[in-house]
């Protein structure tokens, strides 16, 4: 069967049963970009993010037998990656240097003139959000995980996730002044 038509779980089954490196490579190719983006949200450093990603994939390979198929591979992998990134941040003694979004620094409504600009503003604003909000927003919007799955990945209670999601979204809304953008 071609790799493209197989689910993550199918590939994991092959990794577990016959230590299929080809199947594992398929998983790496599928998840490395999303994984890198998530690791960057936690670490804010490209080199460290890559190291955390490598570490996470190696853990998946070495501990494949511990995957029980009770959750999706995606959730399981992101939990490993999230923990690897947190550990790396701790070992690098890197303090959370993210700053809370300054209300006064919000982009004026009249600066939003095109969707491309909006995208840029959102991307810049995300970078300025606290790490926890960045992580939750990334898992929700990019990885398209449910609130329950985000809870499984991060270990955060449902209420905390909702709060991070709400606050992060509100800050982005303030920055892009989307309401005015829609009206215009």
């Amino acid at each position: 069967m071609a790799l493209q038509t197989e689910t993550d779980e199918d590939l994991m089954r092959r990794v577990i049963t016959v230590r299929d490196q080809h199947a594992f490579r398929g998983l790496v190719d599928r998840h490395k970009a999303m994984g890198m983006t998530l690791a960057l949200r936690v670490l804010s450093d490209e080199m460290l993010a890559e190291e955390a990603l490598q570490d996470a994939f190696l853990r998946v390979w070495r501990s494949a037998h511990t995957f029980t198929f009770n959750s999706s591979f995606k959730t399981w992998f992101y939990r490993i990656l999230y923990n690897a990134a947190l550990t790396k941040r701790k070992t690098e003694s890197k303090t959370d240097d993210h700053v809370e979004l300054d209300e006064h620094a919000a982009i004026g409504e009249d600066t939003i003139t095109s969707s491309k600009e909006t995208t840029q503003v959102i991307l810049q604003s995300i970078e300025r959000l606290p790490q926890a909000q960045q992580t939750v927003l990334t898992l929700y919007y990019l990885q398209e995980l449910s609130l329950e799955e985000i809870g499984e990945v991060t270990g955060m209670p449902n209420g905390t996730i909702k709060t991070h999601l709400f606050r992060g979204r509100e800050k982005l809304r303030n920055d892009v002044s989307l309401r005015e953008y829609v009206n215009n």
């Binding site: 230590r19 490196q21 594992f24 490579r25 790496v28 190719d29 490395k32 970009a33 999303m34 890198m36 983006t37 960057l40 490209e46 080199m47 993010a49 890559e50 190291e51 955390a52 990603l53 490598q54 570490d55 994939f57 190696l58 390979w61 969707s115 909006t118 995208t119 840029q120 959102i122 991307l123 995300i126 927003l137 990334t138 919007y141 990019l142 979204r169 982005l172 809304r173 892009v176 989307l178 309401r179 829609v182």
Partner: protein
């Protein structure tokens, strides 16, 4: 359009914009990422026993052995002489060379470039 409906429309548009921005902001690891990772895995599979030896534990084992050999070398009285019959190997010099060999091996393992992140 009612205020509530308009709010919902804005909300979903905001969500779509965030989603689109997130997708555009996806970052990929360096080009050789997969190849490097797979080569480490292939190496591990070929020598599973060697891979189980902790990279941090091995050098300390070498250091310990080197120190033991040096102590033995110091305890054995040296009797090597450069004479017309040539150099004669004493127990002490053999132990000293063994200790130096182990320390050199340690230096080699420490300077060997390793896969990033391991």
């Amino acid at each position: 359009m009612s205020t509530t409906n308009q709010h919902q429309d804005n909300q979903s548009l905001l969500d779509r914009e965030i989603k689109a921005a997130m997708k555009l902001g996806v970052r990929v690891p360096h080009a050789d990422f997969t190849r490097e990772l797979m080569s480490v895995i292939a190496e591990e599979e070929l020598s599973p026993v060697a891979s189980r030896v902790s990279a941090s534990r091995l050098p300390w084992t070498l250091v310990a052995l080197g120190v033991v050999f040096l102590i033995v070398a110091l305890l054995i009285p040296g009797s090597s002489e450069a004479s017309s019959e040539g150099f004669s190997w004493s127990g002490s010099s053999v132990w000293t060379i063994a200790a130096l060999g182990l320390i050199s091996l340690l230096a080699l393992t420490q300077t060997k470039p390793r896969f990033r992140g391991l």
